[in-house]
């Protein structure tokens, strides 16, 4: 078990915050998660939203009503320590080992975290479109616009915003379809299943669709 010190706790609003931890000797890859443990030893996995080059670890966390870990994390103070696992992961936005001319990211809610890690490094070497859905505009944590080729944003629970009012899946007709493109999906299982099916029905190979589903289980 690792221990990291809280060096930042920044609230976007009451239920959404960014937790920053000192990095110590941790090395990680874009797309990695850490399991963060509360004082009872209950753990939840969170994607790291900072890039491997940065000198600290960041996480984008939604406080779940009655959540065993997120609520506990939201109440931590600077200088307190949090127990974590070592980094692990299998979702690699911008994977340089793949022959891809372009990539398209799909995220809902805090599913933007691994993509924030990707955009936090230098300029992307691959052209990247972003499809991003949140419940409210205040939930949006947008990557730097200059690093994105095109972004398509949907807000599902508010009508009068500058973004599309509805679900991210309403925007699928705008998705560029090509066998040279890799598609990266992170967020709730319903969105991931729906977009995967959409892509597969348009002839995109299973091997070009990369998924990170919020964890299931006990």
């Amino acid at each position: 078990m690792e221990k990291h010190e809280v060096i930042g706790l920044d609230f976007f609003h009451e239920d959404l915050f960014q937790l920053s931890l000192n990095k110590r000797d941790i090395t990680h890859e874009i797309g990695d998660c850490l399991t963060l443990f509360n004082s009872d030893g209950t753990g939840r996995p969170y994607s790291i939203s900072s890039s491997p080059e940065e000198d600290h670890l960041r996480f984008l966390i939604r406080r779940q009503p009655g959540g065993a870990v997120s609520d506990w994390l939201a109440q931590k103070g600077l200088g307190e320590t949090i127990k974590t696992s070592r980094p692990y992961g299998w979702f690699r936005p911008g994977d340089s080992t793949l022959a891809q001319t372009k990539q398209i990211f799909f995220a809902t809610g805090t599913g933007i975290a691994p993509f924030l890690a990707y955009f936090s490094q230098g300029n992307p070497s691959i052209e990247t479109d972003l499809f991003y859905g949140c419940r409210k505009a205040e939930d949006l944590v947008l990557p730097p616009a200059e690093k994105i080729n095109q972004s398509f944003i949907a807000i599902s629970q508010e009508k009068k915003t500058r973004y599309h009012s509805g679900r991210i899946t309403d925007l699928l007709e705008k998705v560029e379809i090509s066998s040279d493109i890799h598609y990266y999906l992170c967020g709730l299982d319903l969105m991931i299943d729906e977009i995967s099916e959409f892509l597969e029905n348009r002839g995109i190979s299973f091997m070009n669709i990369h998924r990170e589903v919020f964890f299931h289980g006990k």
Binding site: P45, F91, R92, L98, M207, E212, F215, H216, G217
Partner: protein, 299 residues
């Protein structure tokens, strides 16, 4: 009463196995998994570190001796092996020297890396996969493994087969089941997902979670001689296999894949030395091997 390594609670000499050979060497890739199934034999979950990620250097320590001892296959279990960040390079290295088998849940960690897995077809030896499909319906399977994972796993099996990999599935063995009937339900499922009808189905009883202490009958020396034939005794995994796992930063050799929660089954020397160690059938899971002939291997 005794109830120690050598004796049962009634003081009788405990049943044991002395390995005859080493045909199969297993590596535990670590207990970290993308799923948190409540019934997991290994107690695996995201970030779990009871058994650490094994590395390529860890594996290399054993391959030369494995070859000398005549090992026929390297097998991998977890956790979910594809969660281990070193796993593809470990597998690629082992496939230079041995056929391999990987136990996987065939969900995102494998799905996301399938292009790299397909490249392993070029290696001198082949890898095959065993995927857990606990029940032949989504409702029961996903109740434990998470919504949508039944379909994902079956789709991944179909892709692996299309790419030329051999895949078997592991299912639960139900009490008093009609095996033929259950297997037929699976075969209908294979048809639906365009999976080969010949796909091998391996059945497992409920082994209980790690560190549990279910009450099972004890196995005495007399049980081993009175109730089992030589062939049945030879089929015990500890007769022909060993598993390497890394706990507390140290590599250990376990008698089989199912006893890594009990340090009494760990040795720390060479593979040859581990084969010379008498394996006492004390663990509650030993009874499953005794009673049902269960084995993680596919002999």
């Amino acid at each position: 009463m005794a109830n120690d390594w050598l004796h049962t609670s009634t003081g009788d000499p405990r049943g044991f196995i002395v390995a005859q050979e080493l045909k199969e060497l297993w590596f535990h890739t670590g207990t970290s998994c993308n799923l948190s199934c409540p019934f997991c034999l290994e107690g695996s979950s995201p970030g779990d570190n009871r058994i650490h990620f094994i590395t390529l250097d860890d594996v290399k320590n054993y391959l030369v001796e494995a070859k000398e001892l005549g090992v026929k296959q390297i097998s991998f279990t977890g956790g979910e092996p594809f969660v281990n960040p070193h796993f593809i390079e470990i597998l690629a290295h082992c496939l230079e020297y041995f056929p391999c088998m990987v136990l996987t849940n065939a969900t995102e960690p494998l799905m996301n890396q399938i292009q790299k897995v397909v490249q392993l077809k070029e290696k001198p030896f082949q890898v095959r996969f065993r995927v857990s499909i606990d029940y032949p319906n989504a409702e029961q399977h996903d109740k434990g493994r998470g919504k949508g994972n039944f379909t994902k796993s079956l789709k991944t099996i179909a892709i692996l087969e299309q790419q030329g990999f051999e895949v078997s599935i592991a299912r639960l063995q139900f009490q008093e089941e009609n095996t033929q009937d259950v297997d037929q339900i699976y075969q209908k499922l294979f048809e639906k997902y365009q999976i080969s009808q010949d796909t091998h189905i391996v059945k497992f009883p409920d082994f209980d979670t790690p560190n549990s202490s279910p009450e099972v009958p004890e196995i005495t020396e007399t049980c081993m001689t009175k109730y089992l034939t030589k062939e049945q005794k030879d089929a015990f995994m500890c007769n022909f296999s060993r598993m390497i796992a890394k706990t507390n930063g140290r590599l250990s050799i376990y008698a089989c894949t199912l006893v890594d929660d009990d340090d009494q089954y760990a040795t720390f020397g060479t593979l040859k030395e581990s084969l010379e160690t008498k394996i006492m059938l004390k663990h509650h899971r030993c009874f499953s091997c005794f009673a049902y002939g269960a084995s993680c291997s596919e002999k």
